[in-house]
Symmetry: D2
Subunit: 255 residues, 4 copies
């Protein structure tokens, strides 16, 4: 009897590299896009054309959002260690926690539980959502997937992601549940909060079949692309030192 | 007089997010692939169809290579801190230094210097390469882009990447220079080392117009996709603890 | 009106560096130990002799525990990026989460809440502990501060830390509460679990006056010292590659 | 024949933890300071009283230097992921590269090579230093250990560290060589640059017997203590968001 191999993702020998049972050089390179590769690596199967389009849209939506704390952290790390690009990218990713980008995964986990509990029964889902929203409101906790500090009315990524999911015929139960969450929150509080882009992305990723616990990972891949661009710019037009000096001066002035 | 804005990559206001002058929701999501987005973010312009195909092939080639030290590091970090996926991905990326994945950038920098110095003169290039190889051999240093611990004859990614570059009519001076490096090394040492996949990727990225110093960054984006897949698997089929126990036992046995 | 300065920890000008209102060169270097400095930095005041001894004992107890997953992660990162020592140390620290070292802080937070709620009333404390233990047992959650995978009977660090705290007359309410937690767990389950070293350390740090939420930080400082020693050894006697090869071979054998 | 055990630093069994051959609970906790433990872990032996004092002074000198880029990076990471203290500390350490803190190790390596080459001959050392300085000046490279952006005349840590080393009778060949470097630089350029604190620390660490390549590690341990204090303060008095907003506004104003 043989035990399971340690990893089913890939392996290599002297002449070939295999990923998910496919030959990297002849069956993947030049034949699939990087988004499809990212899907294949985690899902263990290639996406359909529609899945690839929705998945790409999710990654595109999460890649860049200006000079965020995470970008500043990466740039300031680059200031001190320009020879270790990997350290600067890692520093940037480390800020993707419960406050920034983490909401992708938090919303995914939240919705997956609600949808699983309802077992396909629309009324049961609505009841579960109502309870969950009421509890969050009572405990003065944020409802996962709702609200954004900058995009107070509408997060422009959200309606577009729903539109693309619709076009791909992939608008599934988790994206729908998130709309119910938004409606129930408005009904309970008489206050409208937009579905944020992170939440919509998390919902779409679960509808695409990914384990909710891993969805934060795709936000990290997407944001890595943005961080590399910022570090390329930092090399040509450094702002890390400027941010430092402003803070120092600001600190001095107030002493 | 106005100074340059702090970042030219992107920004946002209440109703929109802009990336490289384009509206994220209406002009990018659903219209470009994640590979194209990654190119756009760093290059500041969208790739042609051929450029997108070659760039995707580079990212696909670098995303996964089995249970590498970097993957083991990410998995062992997840063992200790499963609630911080970003920490595990960051730990995995931190191993992308001079030994692993770093060669993408090292080769890029090495070739860019040779090609720039030759100024388009084929003979000058060949002379420069010959000297650089002779110096490296004399100093017992590795020649960037050559050799691989597992793929001793041929790195399967290399010929495929050249083929795709050829098909896209993008086989440029840096990829050609790397072939000359390989030939001159064989001539100088009577020993054939394959062009490794990392080196070929680095050469292709410079031919695509990227700053050599930033090319390591694309290896990081690619590898992040592989790391997320490994962490998804680690959640279902943990090997971190097993690796730890094997090492502990091994250590004990020898004491 | 003047706002508070941005940081009260320290600052510098052309001729001096100030830490917590003291001159670094003339009042701290050569006068206080590194443990006292670590205490001063976070507490904002110098420790008494007894506090310094207990604090040092806590740091000493947490610095090293063999080839842990965190150490392996640091060593494997060093394998790939030996030029970036900071990356290898960072990778090692990133594994200090909910499973390893994190329990220092989790126990601190858990005990601080119980002690605060009881408000100095011994009976109220015992009742709160009993409830908390009962809840954890019912929900099949671990009780913070109890149990260790290797030290199944007694974690040797624990009785020693209590002894030192006693000698320093610093055995405070949180260390006492942890003993009550252990006793109540045994009473509720008829199963004895040792107080683990991480938990005892967390309790001692709160008794020393530190904010429970920051106690994990001292575990990180302590472990950084151990990681540097392992990386020094890795430079002379590399095991990263061996761990990798064992895993690869192991993986191959099973395919 | 038996192979060497995997690690000689430490290990544990059910009832004990051993570090460098000593019992952690009975022989180390409560008996040695954390500075002595840090020395023991890497050196494999306990320091003398003088060595412990000089080593502590080095760590104290490197622990804190205000709102550095590294501290800002840690605080900004905490803003995004307050639940992962280890990620914020790691992000702070990742900036300890060639520009900040790295000079500890760079100076150590530079001096160790000069001293080793001179083989105890004072004249030979002076000649070697002269050449090295001349080369650096000719190539417009910085001379390791000299100069500081803030402390332009004297880095206050430097004379104090020399004083302590003198008092401990541990002012060794590497600290002396660094003085020669400073003198030769002044002679060659008619410009006086102070010996910086990082360089003096690096020289002292090599005089204490540590491998130059690992000296950067002690700067990391020291700085970790400072980072934890900053994160404790960040929890009470957040500046991450303020730094972000200043940067955003600044960026906006200029567009």
């Amino acid at each position: 009897v043989s035990e399971r191999p340690m990893s089913e993702i890939g392996g290599s020998d002297a002449n070939s590299i295999t990923v998910r049972g496919l030959d990297l050089a002849t069956e993947l390179m030049g034949r699939i896009s990087f988004g499809e590769m990212t899907f294949l690596l985690s899902a263990g199967r290639q996406p359909t054309q529609g899945e690839a389009r929705l998945f790409d849209a999710v990654l595109v939506s999460l890649a860049e959002h200006g000079l965020t704390p995470s970008v500043l952290s990466a740039r300031l790390t680059y200031t001190g260690a320009p020879e270790s690009l990997q350290g600067a990218v890692a520093a940037g990713l480390l800020g993707a926690g419960s406050v920034f980008l983490g909401p992708v995964g938090d919303t995914a986990v939240f919705l997956a539980e609600l949808v699983a509990r309802a077992g396909g029964d629309e009324d049961a889902l609505r009841r579960s959502v109502r309870e969950a929203v009421a509890t969050a409101v009572a405990e003065e906790r944020r409802v996962p997937g709702l609200g954004h500090p900058i995009h107070r009315e509408t997060d422009p990524r959200t309606p577009r992601l729903y539109e693309i999911a619709e076009e791909c015929e992939l608008l599934g139960p988790h994206m729908r549940a998130l709309e119910i969450v938004s409606a129930e929150f408005a009904a309970a509080t008489h206050r409208k909060l937009p579905i944020n882009g992170a939440g919509a992305a998390g919902a779409a990723l679960v509808d695409l079949g990914f384990d909710p616990k891993i969805t934060r990972g795709f936000a990290l891949v997407a944001r890595a692309a943005g961080l590399v661009a910022h570090l390329a710019e930092e090399g040509r037009n450094p702002i890390g030192m400027r941010v430092w000096q402003q803070t120092e001066n600001h600190s001095k002035r107030r002493e």
